[in-house]
């Protein structure tokens, strides 16, 4: 029997805000000693009250705007209740009706909504005790929920990778799965018709792209085998065991939660003025897909090269800087991608110089070099001062400036020596 695969995603992203969602504690908790980043608010102590973090709200809306979501004019927080030892208040402040972002799409895949909520603490189990670390409790968490529009594992994989990239471009989060700043859940079911089947399996506990791919594949196989042998599949939550490479049932529908949502009375509904939306929209940088198109047009690179460059914003920027010094676009891309020259030459000018070397072009004369060095030193008194104050690494900048003046034809050793010599003598 051939089944249509139907997958919807729930993706959590921990934004790189300074403070947690509703208090002043530090958001970044990676590697911190347990329970050192807490206060009455994120510990959920009696009497404590939440104050919503506007930076987190802005980041959520910016993600929505980048993906074409509608921004709610008035957005509300809700209390979502469930009992778990790591949930300090016995409810999570989350959103339900009127989340910050509604709709939108990425790579043609429809997004249902994007909302903002707080994270729970972390349970640490050992042989005979369980401990709670509240450092993560109350951290801001952006949740994106897609429509059930994925029919293929490869679609899922390219979507989540592209989302990770968009989030990085927007400086919302580094979205590292290994560090838990990006977490994925997939709702998977199989159908024999166009209609949604009457069950879905929620797949949890996935902490890398690799495991996501494997887990979905394993789960699809399990469901296919089950349906083929005439079994009925139930609504349930399953986890993925990396060791056995199987999924296992965590919870079935029978004991599914009733979250008893109601609007959070401690936070008045948040009005989003049009001016704020305009401002946020104006600050959306060039997104990966736009960059790919531009790179293709401007630099005429192969799509493989473009994808590699664009997948790392820093590299893409380095590439463009180098291209502003030399028109050898393909060579530059090649040296970056295949030789990692961007690591070897922290300043793009150095790499451009290397290209001239490789092309065995003549270096500029000692005299021309000296003049260029002099001019650069005069133009950058602050840099010279900080060099003299012991900041040796600023020499890279000076070298870059000289090479720029010499159109990349400076002899690196000569340039370096002249800079050191002239600073010592004249400055």
């Amino acid at each position: 029997m051939i089944y249509q695969i139907i997958i919807g995603l729930e993706i959590h992203i921990e934004p790189n805000t300074k403070s947690k969602m509703f208090c002043g504690c530090q958001e970044d908790h990676f590697g911190a000693k347990p329970n050192t980043q807490t206060c009455p608010i994120c510990l959920g102590l009696p009497g404590a009250l939440p104050i919503a973090n506007s930076e987190a709200i802005k980041k959520t809306m910016q993600l929505g705007l980048a993906l074409g979501s509608n921004i709610s004019k008035i957005s509300k927080f809700y209390r979502k209740h469930y009992f778990y030892p790591d949930l300090a208040k016995s409810y999570q402040i989350s959103q339900k009706d009127n989340p910050f972002c509604i709709g939108g799409s990425l790579m043609g895949k429809k997004i249902n909504h994007i909302h903002l909520e707080e994270d729970a603490g972390k349970l640490i189990h050992s042989k005979d005790e369980s401990l709670i670390d509240f450092n993560r409790s109350g951290c801001a968490l952006i949740e994106m929920v897609t429509e059930p529009v994925f029919h293929d594992i490869s679609e899922v994989m390219s979507f989540v990778k592209e989302l990770q990239l968009v989030v990085r471009y927007l400086d919302i989060s580094n979205a590292d799965m290994e560090k838990g700043t990006m977490r994925l859940e997939a709702n998977i079911s199989l159908s024999t018709s166009e209609k949604l089947p009457n069950y879905k399996v929620e797949l949890k506990n996935i902490n890398s792209f690799k495991f996501l791919e494997k887990a979905i594949k394993t789960e699809i196989e399990r469901q296919t085998n089950a349906l083929n042998s005439g079994q009925k599949l139930a609504q349930e939550t399953r986890g993925y065991d990396e060791k056995t490479k199987t999924t296992f049932s965590q919870r079935t529908k029978a004991d599914s939660d009733d979250y008893r949502y109601f609007p959070e009375p401690d936070i008045t509904p948040i009005e989003i003025p049009g001016s704020m939306i305009l401002d946020l929209r104006s600050r959306i940088p060039e997104l990966p897909e736009q960059k790919r198109k531009r790179f293709a047009e401007k630099y005429k690179l192969s799509s493989d090269y473009i994808n590699i460059l664009v997948s790392d914003l820093e590299r893409a920027n380095y590439f463009e800087k180098a291209c502003s010094l030399s028109k050898e676009y393909k060579t530059i891309a090649n040296l970056i991608i295949n030789k990692n020259f961007d690591k070897e030459y922290p300043e793009p000018a150095g790499l451009v110089k290397k290209i001239y070397d490789l092309g065995s072009k003549m270096y500029e004369s000692a005299k021309v070099t000296k003049n260029a060095v002099e001019k650069v030193l005069i133009d950058n008194p602050d840099i010279v001062t900080s060099y003299k104050n012991g900041k040796g690494q600023v020499i890279g900048f000076l070298i870059g400036q000289v090479q720029k003046k010499l159109k990349g034809k400076g002899n690196p050793k000569l340039v370096n020596d002249k800079i050191v010599e002239l600073i010592r003598k004249n400055f």
Binding site: P40, L45, P46, G47, H81, F83, S90
Partner: protein
């Protein structure tokens, strides 16, 4: 020594060296030691803290607004390093790591904290009888309740165990005990005073209440307590408005219901006459949704209670869930049911819609009148045990008081007179949001006219 009954007299006495702050503490502590066993008002007495602060005050020049004012707190105000129980066994041994904004503000203004006060567990009740630490008895007559849930705060001030006290008011928990103990009680505008550090009962209704002997003292307390603190996002700053010269008051015809005690009803008419004698017009108004007040309140309030009490799940705070009393359990069950899937729309959402209608009633009324006079409790203080068998009857105690909480407006409860059985009765004046200062003016006028003098029961 005879302790003064107002902030002004206290501070004049301190400045004139008639007595020291330490002597004031001596005197209040003596009263506590003498009567607390019998009346069960204080759960924790902070003697050491009180003397330490009193000595500081004695070294000062008494210039802070509350210099030397001895204060006590309902035990739902968190006090750093001092046990805070909320009147419940659950928190029997809970020592908070931080203090409520109100506590910090009052103490920064020079007040001397003397202890923590009994109350209905988690502020659930109208008589003090739901405290897990035993009922507080009314200092005016120990066979009667003080009212609740701020039973201790009313008891403490009327028994002269502190000059002022802080309570809370979610559905009348300050105004009703103030009335039952011959005190001035204020339920402020929702959003005037920070709730930070006050153990939450019903978050959209909770307010910080204050007990004093006079309206003048209430104004001083209010001005110390109000304003943004950066921790309660619903609090707003406001500038004290110009007070009107001419007032017009309203009395709602819907307030004269079955069950309104004849003596209370008579008193309301006396109040009306008193204002009219001063040339203040009192007209009949209509608040058509009055009959929905208690039902709406008893949907929203337990829903929020069930949410706020969830954290006492037995993992932290010492005692497990078996330590919840009957009333807390009743409200947790009611609230969980109200919020559960399928019933949310039918109950909670509908109640919120009616709440909007009730708010509209008041918006309309305040177009024609500046403030509304109303009973606080339908009856004078009742006897211990009289209402405990019938929770519904106890809930009806709240018929006049829940209004101000549902609408979010301020209400000032004023002592008026004594019933034929010698127990205090009084009324309340409700005004638009942030009209506290106008209510103080109306309260002062009334007390001047009837020549009100503060009295202590013991």
């Amino acid at each position: 020594m005879k302790t003064p009954l107002t902030i002004k007299e206290t501070q004049e006495g301190l400045k004139a060296k008639k007595f020291s702050a330490v002597e004031l503490v001596d005197s209040y502590l003596a009263q506590i030691n003498k009567y607390n066993k019998e009346f069960n008002i204080f759960l924790t007495v902070t003697e050491e803290q009180a003397y330490k602060k009193a000595k500081e005050i004695d070294r000062s020049n008494f210039q802070s607004p509350l210099s030397g004012v001895v204060v006590s707190y309902k035990d739902i105000f968190l006090t750093k390093d001092v046990r805070t129980t909320a009147g419940s066994k659950i928190l029997e041994s809970y020592i908070p790591p931080y203090s409520a904004t109100s506590v910090n503000r009052i103490e920064a203004a020079g007040a001397i904290p003397i202890g923590k006060l009994n109350c209905d567990a988690f502020a659930h009740g109208s008589s003090g009888e739901n405290s897990d630490f035993g009922v507080t008895k009314n200092p005016w007559n120990k066979e009667y309740v003080t009212g609740g849930s701020s039973s201790g705060p009313a008891g403490a001030v009327s028994a002269n165990m502190s000059l002022v006290s802080l309570g809370s008011d979610t559905g009348g928990s300050t105004r009703q005990p103030a009335n039952f103990c011959n005190l001035v009680g204020l339920k402020p505008t929702y959003g005037a005073i920070s709730r930070y550090g006050v153990i939450a009962m019903s978050s959209s209704l909770d307010t910080v209440g204050t007990f004093t002997h006079t309206v003048g003292d209430m104004e001083i307390m209010y001005d110390v307590l109000r304003g943004e603190d950066g921790f309660d996002g619903n609090v707003k700053n406001f500038v004290k408005p110009e007070i009107k010269k001419r007032f017009k008051l309203g009395i709602a015809k819907e307030y004269f219901i079955d069950g309104l005690d004849a003596e209370v009803e008579k008193m309301i008419f006396e109040v009306k006459k008193t204002y009219e004698k001063m040339g203040i017009e009192v007209v009949e108004i209509s608040l058509p949704h009055t009959k929905y007040m208690v039902p709406v309140y008893y949907i929203i309030q337990p829903a929020e209670v069930s949410s706020n009490l969830g954290r006492f799940d037995g993992i932290r705070y010492g005692n497990n869930r078996n330590s919840f009393g009957e009333e807390a359990k009743r409200r947790i069950m009611l609230g969980s049911y109200i919020l559960s899937a399928g019933y949310y729309d039918e109950y909670y959402e509908k109640a919120m819609k009616v709440r909007t209608k009730i708010i509209n009633d008041f918006d309309e009324a305040f177009k024609t009148v500046d403030a509304i006079i109303s009973p606080v409790s339908p009856t004078p203080p009742f006897k211990l045990g009289e209402n405990t068998k019938d929770p519904l009857k106890m809930y009806l105690e709240d018929v006049y008081t829940t209004t101000a909480n549902l609408v979010g407006i301020p209400s000032l409860a004023l002592p008026s007179t004594f019933s034929t059985s010698g127990l205090p009765i009084g009324f309340q004046i409700m005004g638009p949001r942030f009209s506290e200062h106008a209510l103080f003016e109306l309260g002062r006028k009334y007390h001047q006219e009837i020549d009100y003098k503060p009295k202590i029961a013991l």
